[in-house]
Amino acid sequence: MGDDQSDRLLNASGPVEIVQTYRDAAEQMFAQSDENAGFFFLTHAFIQALEAGLPEAEDLEKELRDAHRL
């Protein structure tokens, strides 16, 4: 996770922004072919969405399950 993403997490206005920041970090890692780091951040996006009751928790859970990461 880059410094800009760390700053976004620290200053996030709420769970929606936190989840998006983790998703962005995951996409960045997948783009760099670092699969483990990508699923690490995707896991954090899922947990934050699950705790906050955000609808995207369902999609994130499916994404992790389909990748045999759940």
Binding site: N36, G38, F46, L50, E51, A52, G53
Partner: protein
């Protein structure tokens, strides 16, 4: 149990004319206190909280109850459950404060997540970074540990050991006695709940509540219209005792208003009221137009928290136009309960007198208190004998 304590309990289990009260150790000794919480609370149906402690669906409230960290929860459908407030991973306390739960409960340690039915939903990184499952971790078997619970008269009861008879079976006599009152209750709201912190053993609050003998001396204002001879004892049942009055008078507001009555009551309730201690730890009062409940939370052998809530029998009584009358009712009852504090705290200090032998009972006036002592003694001896 020490022989002298067993002998002391046997001295309770005789006729009221000859019986002594419970030995001092039952009010002052830590070991005896822990034996009591195991036998008299964990194995029975004990009052934990009010339903109204949860302001709506999808809320949780942590409660430390006789040394047990518990979690009172409502799910999204409004079903109330009680769990052990502990993560199944490393035993971390799961929830530290009452709060709404928009999604899942997340353990603050390693973020294992549970839904409000107790199901374990997520175990992040449990199989290594980015791997959220592992063959050794069966999430279907690692949900929150549920504690057996039951709701009655706005109160959440728990049976910690899970082996008591059903609540309805265990309390069949009282439920039948008050069958007419088995109708919806309406919690009065923020103006109808308060707490008292008492420097006394929990049993002394029961003992004082369930007899009318003290009323003319401790509550002179009550006695001005409800005299000692207007009261009757409620005793002879294993699981409760108390007192009743034949001269209950409804509270009247500044404009002459009264709380609306419960529908369908027998005419005897026009002027009657009953005050019953349901063992081990709830004090109940019922009247034609309102009810109250006091939950006793033991905080050690010499400290107790009383949590009091008032309920009404018709929904209009909790509307804004009854706010001043509700506040007046709360103030009136709070004054009565505060008048009892010096008594229960004075008896607690008295239990440190080495020569005190448990005291004696008035065969006429103290039957309900002796009834309670017999329940304590017989239930404690069951453990010893078993």
């Amino acid at each position: 149990m020490a022989d002298n304590l067993t002998t002391g309990l046997q001295n309770v289990l005789t006729g009221v004319e000859k019986a002594h009260g419970l030995p001092n150790a039952h009010y002052t000794d830590h070991e005896t206190y822990h034996a009591e919480t195991g036998q008299l609370f964990a194995k029975q149906w004990a009052a934990l909280a009010f339903v109204a402690d949860l302001p709506g669906n999808a809320h949780v409230k942590p409660i430390d109850f006789i040394g047990q960290p518990l979690l009172l929860a409502t799910d999204r459908d409004g079903t109330i459950r009680v769990f052990e407030n502990v993560c199944r991973h490393r035993g971390m306390i799961l929830v530290d404060e009452a709060k709404p739960v928009p999604g899942a409960l997340r353990c603050p340690y390693h973020s294992w997540c549970y839904d409000l039915t107790g199901k374990l939903r997520a175990t992040p990184h449990v199989g290594g970074p980015g791997h959220n499952g592992h063959d050794a971790i069966d999430r279907s078997k690692l949900g929150l540990i549920e504690v057996r619970s039951h709701v009655w008269r706005g109160i959440v009861f728990v049976n910690l050991d899970g082996n008591a008879p059903s609540f309805e079976e265990a309390n069949a006599s009282l439920i039948a006695r008050w069958a007419e009152f088995e109708q919806p209750l309406y919690f009065g709201g923020e103006d109808s709940v308060f707490e008292l912190a008492l420097n006394t053993n929990w049993k002394l609050a029961i003992e004082n509540y369930c007899e009318s003998y003290h009323l003319p001396w401790v509550h002179p204002a009550l006695n001005s219209y409800s005299r000692l001879e207007d009261h009757y004892n409620i005793e002879g049942q294993h699981e409760f005792s108390g007192q009743g009055t034949h001269v209950y008078r409804q509270l009247v507001g500044d404009a002459g208003e009264k709380f609306p009555d419960l529908k369908g009551l027998d005419a005897k309730w026009d002027a009657a009221a009953e005050y019953i201690a349901l063992y081990p730890n709830v004090l109940l009062g019922i009247h034609r137009d309102h009810s109250f409940a006091i939950i006793l939370i033991p905080q050690g052998p010499e400290n107790t928290t009383e949590r009091i809530a008032l309920f009404y029998h018709q929904p209009e009584a909790i509307a804004e136009n009854y706010a001043s009358l509700r506040a007046k009712n709360t103030t009136q009852w709070k004054a009565v309960f505060e008048e009892d504090i010096f008594v229960v705290e004075g008896m607690q200090r008295g239990r440190h007198a080495r020569g005190f032998d448990g005291g004696r009972f008035s065969p006429v006036m103290d039957g309900p208190t002796h009834n309670f002592h017999k329940w304590v003694a017989s239930t404690m001896l069951d453990r010893t004998d078993g």
